[in-house]
């Protein structure tokens, strides 16, 4: 059993390394190149004579398509490896997720953040972000925005995340890959001697509670370099 657990950890780490590498490559090449192309397109659009309505229309269409492609790639990058957590910090990265939720479901959620989140260890910040990300994927449009709550509390010993939100109306089992992600998340939390609880209250609300104790030293990490 111990050997199996070790193997699982090694495979988990390998998968993380591959995802991190792929997301960096996507960001550094594709997002940058498409962004530059869009900038070029917008610059041409700005310089186009006002009489050339057809050209302006086409350039405008290309620009919109590029914006959509960039947005889509960002979502893929975030699913592979949430680099924004390392670059911008946990709270900013969560705000990005909530902005995505606002676009997808029209839901406004203001996180309640207490304590210093800027100096969290990267491993802890990543884990909290992924837990929120995976739980948000379970949701569909709620009847009332009052039912979505996201709370982050940090004290000297640890950090606690609580998220309550409506579950998807479809009650089918999640795909195998998502079940595996959930199992790996639990394993990671246990490795850090934390607590992880994801439960449906039977009334259509998913409750996530995650507690991670903080290491005695090395609480503050610098943001990752790229």
């Amino acid at each position: 059993m111990e050997q199996l657990t070790d193997l699982l950890h090694r495979l988990d780490n390998l998968r993380d390394d591959e995802r991190r590498q792929l997301s960096l490559e996507l960001h550094d090449t594709l997002v940058s190149t498409l962004s530059a192309t869009k900038l070029e397109c917008d610059w041409l659009l700005r310089a186009a004579p006002s009489g050339e309505a057809e050209s302006q229309k086409r350039l405008s269409r290309v620009s919109s398509s590029l914006a959509e492609a960039i947005q889509f790639i960002r979502q893929v990058i975030d699913k592979l490896w949430p680099s924004a957590v390392a670059h911008l910090g946990l709270v900013a990265a969560l705000q990005g997720q909530l902005a995505d939720l606002r676009m997808r479901l029209g839901v406004e959620v203001q996180p309640d953040v207490q304590g210093d989140m800027e100096t969290l260890p990267e491993l802890h910040a990543m884990m909290l972000f992924r837990a929120v990300q995976e739980t948000l994927n379970l949701s569909t449009k709620p009847a009332s925005t009052q039912r979505i709550k996201l709370t982050l509390r940090r004290n000297s010993k640890g950090i606690e995340l609580q998220l309550a939100m409506p579950r998807s109306a479809k009650r089918s089992d999640p795909p195998l890959s998502r079940q595996l992600d959930g199992a790996l998340m639990r394993e990671r939390v246990l490795r850090l001697r934390g607590e992880y609880l994801l439960a449906d209250d039977g009334e259509g609300t998913v409750h996530l509670r995650l507690y991670l104790p903080l290491p005695l030293r090395g609480r503050g990490i610098a943001r990752a370099t790229s």
Partner: protein, 125 residues
Amino acid sequence: MQPTASSAQRRVLIVDDHLASADLLLEILSMEGYVARVAHCGRDAVAIARDFKPQIAVLDVGLPDLDGFALARLLKADPQLREIRLVGLSGYAQSPTVDPSTSGFDHYLVKPVDVEELLSVLQRV
């Protein structure tokens, strides 16, 4: 497109490791009347900034050697560049809240950059 009064002769340093993006920004800012120079990494940026003494630097956050936040702090810490205004550019996230007092940036934009917004920010900072 005529250079605006606020852009005339203002020096801008563009720091981006993506060559096409940097060249395009250089072209746009030059046409708008700014005097612009380009660096493709953090270390070159510091060296060029000390010589060029820009009033504004537009920094990509994801550089190969120095993190954009670290570069921002480095530039602001230089006695000759204390007055420099910094605009951050990032391909990450939608609209992060960046506190100028801690990040070192005076303004922050997310790629793809909107031309009008960038020019407006450069006039204001």
